[in-house]
């Protein structure tokens, strides 16, 4: 039997994640792709807990826990330190949640990417401050309920376009990914590994307690996010050239919305409003991909 994802298993059991945690699967796949020559730095996020308390660790590679807003800067430092000691091979990975990436860590991330430091930054996005008990972040989608955006005043702002911000830095490679599509995620990690300079991967990581869903729906929902065009899978090369990783026929948005308690309060009109936002964004993405086609064709010919 031919496996479609690497067999090597670097993460071990005994971690402290909730049932159905997408962030945990994301790490497991990432380490399969990156291999043992990897150093991780983790800011405050769910993974600070998932990895296990001192003296335990579930990741099987060196790990530096760091302050909330510092993951990217610490990764830059580790890279420089390793390079100076003659190790240019080891992957240096900052692994952060959406709070540590979209909000408090965006300044350091912008610095690392602007300098084009040779690190991989992976944001596992569960769409709120889940570790502190589900408070809204700038990655929380429009319409969602969190403990700081209650049903009567649900999140009124759209999710921040983090990949767009990365593209604006002319980052060599950035991509979105999903725990429901591990082959795609691993393929993108392999490109990140081979691409010199800064890389940013944004992976949607379903969160049953935060999204108020059953744990067994975690993968299904992550897949539906892609199938309903809520979370499209795509790549951007050199900050300019867009490529959709897949272009599925759109499933009704309600299929994604309905099983999630965080959207339960939405009226039909509000779901329609959300659907409009999803289509707008997806159409824009398709236009960008269309415009980039000739570049990818030229690249292939080379």
């Amino acid at each position: 039997m031919k496996y479609t994802i690497p067999e090597q298993e670097i993460m071990c059991s005994g971690h402290k994640a909730c049932q159905g945690c997408g962030a945990t699967l994301a790490m497991r796949y990432a380490l399969k792709a990156l291999g043992p020559k990897t150093i991780l730095t983790l800011p405050a996020c769910c993974w600070s807990v998932i990895d296990g308390p001192f003296p335990y660790s579930a990741v099987g590679v060196p790990l530096f826990h760091t302050a909330f807003e510092t993951a990217a800067a610490v990764a830059s430092g580790i890279r420089a330190g390793l390079d100076m000691r003659g190790d240019t091979e080891t992957n240096v990975v900052a692994w952060a949640g959406d709070g540590g990436t979209f909000d408090i860590g965006i300044q350091a991330l912008s610095g690392t990417v602007e300098r084009n430091d040779n690190v991989i930054y992976i944001c596992y996005d569960n769409e709120a401050y889940m570790n502190t008990g589900v408070q809204r972040s700038s990655a929380t989608p429009w319409g969602a309920v969190t403990t700081t955006t209650p049903a009567r005043h649900f999140k009124q702002e759209r999710k921040k376009d983090m990949i767009g911000i990365m593209a604006a830095h002319s980052i060599p490679y950035t991509a979105s990914a999903s725990v429901a599509y591990p082959e795609d995620f691993i393929r993108k990690l392999n490109i990140a590994k081979e691409t010199p300079g800064a890389k940013f991967i944004h992976i949607l990581a379903s969160c049953p307690p935060g999204w108020k869903t059953a744990p067994e729906l975690a993968i299904k929902l992550a897949r539906l996010a892609v199938q309903t065009h809520v979370f499209p899978l795509y790549e951007i090369y050199e900050g300019r050239y867009y490529k959709l990783s897949m272009d599925p026929k759109k499933k009704p948005l309600i299929d994604y919305i309905k099983p999630q308690g965080r959207f339960r309060h939405l009226t039909e009109e509000q779901v329609a409003e959300m659907d409009k936002q999803v289509d707008e964004r997806y159409d824009r993405l398709k236009e960008q991909a269309e415009r980039s086609k000739s570049w990818f064709e030229a690249k292939k010919e080379k």
Binding site: P36, K37, T38, I39, T41, S48, V49, D51, G52, P53, F54, P55, Y56, S57, V59, G60, V61, P62, L63, F64, H65, T66, A67, E69, T70, A72, A73, V74, A75, S76, G77, I78, R79, A80, G81, L82, D83, M84, R85, T90, Q107, A108, S110, G111, E114, R115, D117
Partner: protein, 384 residues
């Protein structure tokens, strides 16, 4: 090699002679010349280091942590607002046991905007676990960076080399630049036993409950205390190799002194001629300059100050609602001594107000004239 240079460049030279491998820094007046010269040294290849030009001081310290955790010798420099911005990460560097060396130029805190010297920026960081050396000459700045690495890398703790804004940072003095071979012999390449190593994977800084956190703090305290002896040892060794010896404190005409001035940084340099004058006038006055403020050399100060008739402490810093830090801590160190002398605390030179020889004389003379200190602190020369 002899070279006339400014205090800021002495920091850069200290980093270069120590063969710093990674520098992560952000510019701030009055520190800029430190990073400018280091940039040039990296660019012309005279210093083989990676210079990470970060977007803030917060990231300067964060990147320094990453580099040090990867096993590289790491240097940074900042001042005032920049140091305050680093505050969170300063604690982290200590807890992560990373032997980073940082230059800090003492500049008063805003508002109002100011760039002139005052120690409150670094004093406000005294509880972060960083070892602090307060320098008083350009030569000492350069030498202290080298010594700082020697101590830091034995106790796995970060060290701050502190100097006065402008009075030291922008003042030029003749400096002896030691031979690189000799510095290499004094300070060999550092092998961090606890670096991030894919051959020996480990997690650093993970969630730790009350069952172990307490012990980890105890270990930091014990190693901080151990650095007191290390400063004496490495300072002597430095003297044997380079002809300039450094200790926890520096004394001047102390032996028979009945009135002792305790001061730090450049004020202590100005105090020496003041003491000479007062000695000529028949007053038995001496000086203790505190060089290492963290760890505080309490035991040594007890030995030097107990039994004296009077002690005065000059502070170019203020902990509002209490006093200057050097005064409070010197007093605390002597509290249980049977022969603890009465102590006068003076605040002087905040925000870069000049503290010339005659003002230092005023403080000593006031101390001599008074029977006992009145109140807690005296603001010398304040316009009311």
């Amino acid at each position: 090699m002899q070279k006339v240079m400014m205090g800021n460049h002495a920091l850069s030279w200290g980093a270069k002679l120590s063969r710093a491998e990674v520098i992560a820094a952000y510019p701030i007046t009055p520190q800029t010349e430190v990073v400018e010269l280091l940039s040039n040294m990296c660019a012309d290849g005279s210093l083989k280091a990676e210079f990470i030009k970060v977007e803030s001081e917060h990231s300067a310290m964060a990147a320094s942590m990453g580099a040090a955790a990867a096993g590289a010798r790491t240097f940074t420099a900042t001042s005032s607002q920049g140091l305050a911005l680093m505050h969170e990460v300063l604690h982290w560097a200590t807890g992560a046991r990373l032997p980073i060396v940082m230059g800090n130029i003492n500049r008063a805190m805003a508002p109002p905007w100011t760039i002139w010297t005052e120690q409150t920026d670094s004093i406000a960081q005294r509880d972060t676990g960083w070892i602090q050396i307060y320098t008083s000459s350009i030569q000492e700045i350069m030498d202290s960076v080298i010594q700082a690495y020697k101590v830091a890398e034995q106790v796995y703790l970060p060290v701050m080399v502190v100097l006065d804004s402008f009075v030291l940072s922008h003042t030029n003095e003749n400096c002896d630049i030691p031979d690189q071979d000799k510095v290499d012999a004094y300070l060999p390449r550092f092998e961090n036993a606890y670096r991030l190593n894919t051959d020996k994977p480990a997690a650093f800084g993970g969630l730790t409950g009350p069952d172990w956190y307490y012990e980890l703090r105890y270990k930091i305290e014990k190693d901080t205390e151990r650095s007191l002896d290390l400063f004496e040892e490495t300072g002597k060794e430095f003297g044997e190799m380079f002809g300039r010896e450094y200790g926890l404190v520096e004394t001047y005409k102390l032996d028979d002194a009945d009135t002792v001035l305790v001061a730090s940084a450049s004020i202590a340099s100005t105090a020496r001629p003041a003491i000479d004058q007062l000695r000529e006038e028949g007053h038995k006055v001496g000086l203790v300059r505190i060089r290492v403020f963290r760890p505080f050399p309490s035991e040594l100060l007890r030995k030097l100050l107990a039994g004296r008739k009077k002690v005065l402490v000059i502070d170019r810093n203020i902990s509002f609602g209490m006093s200057g830090a050097f005064y409070a801590e010197t007093k605390a160190a002597l509290y249980n001594e049977k022969k603890a002398p009465p102590m006068w605390g003076y605040i002087a030179g905040l925000g870069g107000r000049d503290v010339p020889l005659n003002v230092i004389r005023d403080m000593i003379e006031q101390t001599i004239a008074e029977e006992h200190p009145e109140g807690d602190i005296v603001w010398i020369g304040v316009k009311r």
